[in-house]
Symmetry: C2
Subunit: 184 residues, 2 copies
DNA sequence: GAATAATGTCTCAAATATGTGACATTATTC
DNA sequence: GAATAATGTCACATATTTGAGACATTATTC
């Protein structure tokens, strides 16, 4: 039995990632349910949005933690976590987008923001380690690398949507562009 | 005397780039005019959107052509055009976004699409040359590089919006990430 | 297969977004 | 500073989006 609530959330992440103010009907269509059903699961737009964020954090944090634990070596960790991030796809990029919006003021005080920071804590921590030990090019900053990472995920997603590149090939290309792009 | 029409277009590009279905009031606010004034210049949402696309094509195509003509050397051209693209900022990324939307079917027959292709004709042509002569890593494709380019522009824009990185520094970082990322 | 749960259909009221007319106010030009 | 152009304010009609009730239809469970 498929979980309707979950499939609506997945649909919403996909739609909102492209069009933040998209009408809920688009989300319902994407999830192949009626708008009425959507409203049975989510009181209103805000609640749906919140659930999306929670889902993303859960999925990304779990994938990252899992990748983190596959090895002790910081360089290998980087690669494992990179691929984990790729596999999270638009789940990954959506939250990031919300937190880089023009009018968004990022502040650790805000609970949303601190949870966002926490989601990528392990990832950023490992980056910091690679930076201070000089394995990653010195001119880089953690912020730049993190944004760059998110961008490469977008490139990957686009290539998959267009279907012009096989998944495995695209993953390799993505890792190449990312790792070389940060000076490894 | 400032050109109201132009400043509304600039505002719209900024807003729509972040939120495609944003209410026109947001655009008006960003342009520091009332919604009423916006409607005096643009019949409706569609007309505004069309003008945005026209403006982008004009600006990007001009910047690209200009950079193209600074040198004959393909590698130097790549760098010049890259920086030109950076300087076009969100003008650059907005059109690209429209043409990579989930439901967008890209087709040369469509006038919009062919004009889009044309905007980056010189850029893509030069890329192709670098690929066939083996200067750029063989595994790459023109599409991947173009998407990657657009992504790096986004990273650059984000860094500038946050103000955490000086413009000149960010430009250097961007070129490093891009050039290394495509295997130069 | 009866009972229960989930979803769809149709309807409607409220909220929000859109586009325009009428006129006041402010800039600009000569 | 009078004439003109541009913009703002307010009001309004229309269109779209949103959220929920009532009930029919379809799945699921026991």
């Amino acid at each position: 039995m498929k979980d309707t609530e979950q499939s609506i959330i997945e649909a919403a992440i996909l739609i909102f990632n492209e069009d933040l103010s998209a009408p809920l009907e688009k989300v319902a269509d994407q999830a192949q349910v009626t708008r009425r059903t959507l409203h049975r699961y989510f009181k209103d737009r805000k609640e749906l949005m919140d659930k999306c964020q929670k889902e993303i954090r859960k999925a990304c944090a779990a994938a990252m933690a899992n990748a983190y634990n596959t090895t002790q070596n910081p360089k290998e960790r980087l690669e494992a976590m990179f691929y984990a991030g790729l596999d999270c796809g638009s789940k990954n990029t959506f939250l990031h987008k919300l937190h880089t919006l023009h009018d968004h003021k990022h502040q650790a005080a805000n609970e949303e923001c601190s949870e966002y920071d926490h989601t990528f804590e392990l990832w950023k921590g490992n980056l910091q380690l690679l930076l201070t030990t000089g394995i990653i090019n010195q001119g880089m900053t953690v912020d730049w690398i993190h944004n760059f990472f998110q961008s490469v995920v977008v490139v990957f997603i686009n290539s998959q949507q267009k279907g012009s590149l096989a998944r495995a090939e695209a993953r390799q290309l993505a890792w190449f562009s990312f790792s070389k792009g940060i000076g490894i």
